[in-house]
Symmetry: none
Subunit: 247 residues, 2 copies
Amino acid sequence: MLKEERQNFIMKQINLHNKVLSSDLCVKLNVSEDTIRRDLHELASNSKIKKVYGGAMSKSFSHTTGIKETYAQEAKRQIAKKALTLINDGMTVLLGGGTTIMEMARLIPRGRRCTFFTVSPVVAMELIEYSDCEVILLGGSLLHDSYIVTGSMVINQLNDIKVDLCFLGTNTISLEDGITDSVWEVVQVKKAMIKSANKTAIVSIAEKLNSEGKMKVCNVNAVDYLITDIDPAEKMLSSYVDVINVL
Amino acid sequence: MLKEERQNFIMKQINLHNKVLSSDLCVKLNVSEDTIRRDLHELASNSKIKKVYGGAMSKSFSHTTGIKETYAQEAKRQIAKKALTLINDGMTVLLGGGTTIMEMARLIPRGRRCTFFTVSPVVAMELIEYSDCEVILLGGSLLHDSYIVTGSMVINQLNDIKVDLCFLGTNTISLEDGITDSVWEVVQVKKAMIKSANKTAIVSIAEKLNSEGKMKVCNVNAVDYLITDIDPAEKMLSSYVDVINVL
DNA sequence: AAATATGATGCAATAAATTGAAAAACCATA
DNA sequence: TATGGTTTTTCAATTTATTGCATCATATTT
């Protein structure tokens, strides 16, 4: 049997079943596992498939891989790095949605072992694809613009869990008005998220500081950390450091 | 024998069997392997065939599955079109995961107003983006390989709902073994999905028919519709039409 | 932490491709 | 038919490709 035949067969299996095991293939094709592994390696390096431990899987699922530039990505990456210092192995972490949280999800180091709950399918997909953590996606009515789940379903599920740490992005934050948002459903979810967490961190680029939204999520001192892209010693943050842990 | 005759013969063999071995040809044509190799080289440089180590293969057979396109996308689109005829305004529909279901989600006509439940974040994202329907994403532990939510959380949520119609993709299906799958968690979810639905439709490209998996979801006659890309009158489907509604 | 399964790497055996040169076949013309 | 030139085929030596095995590293499970 020609190598190409074999690889075609493998491609077909993957296309049909989304996943193949090397151990299955080497029996079906009657070659050694080494050969299969070499085939998979070759197909993977031609980016036709995605290699996983024990076999390979279809690439057509890798949906989120698109390297989309997000606004102020570098700033958000800075925030993400700081945020990640709060996460240790074995922790249970609740993540919100938004581009800053997405940067966090992207930067979780491989090998970190913890459990993530999230209300954002996008974040969930990123986590499951690029981290080694367990990912639990909460269910609910999916919101158009923000791609997070909302409604009583989520709230109920949140009532049932208690996590070590919750990370929330925010649209608007100020010392006087606290954390605010413009969508009612989102406010409800965020409130419930904070209630489900022992500690909560707000991630926000400095640019958003001192802006005001329409509906209140909570006061600034109701959360435990404020993580921005600038140095905590900056004048802009001086009024915050009194009431909250600023990173 | 003339060179041209030989090459015609080779072409015929390739068209017939999709591949040829140099070693076979040199016996059949009673020439040295060198000659065969030169012929193949010549044919290949006229891009009539694809030369590979040990022989040559048909050009059309070389699986150059577009990196983005899903396998057998056109076939899946056919299925999706048939499937969509079952969905009317006001219905409550439960969707599984997989690329066929994805095609369905893509082809939901704008203006259709119904409620979709799904266990697949990818499908949910597609629906919320391109349809005007309400999308409820069920929550649970996100599975690496198939990108669907699994576990007791989903099962519980499924127990609480009753939908008009459920669409399931499948890995493997045969008359004897029924609907099967190779991942335990997926089997559990599929079972629960079927239980939550008044009627269930299986969508599957004809290519998958009569393949067998490892764990059983249900018998073929436990579902109501089988939707494939080929005509229900085809011989391949004749044994199915007795026990199930084939579209 | 130990046991098991999987992955990577280097090596040797074998099969196949390449190359250059020699032999054979072919072909037009004298 | 003989001849010279051309094309085609074969042969031999060398290089490259493929595969399986042994070994060690890494991942996963118990």
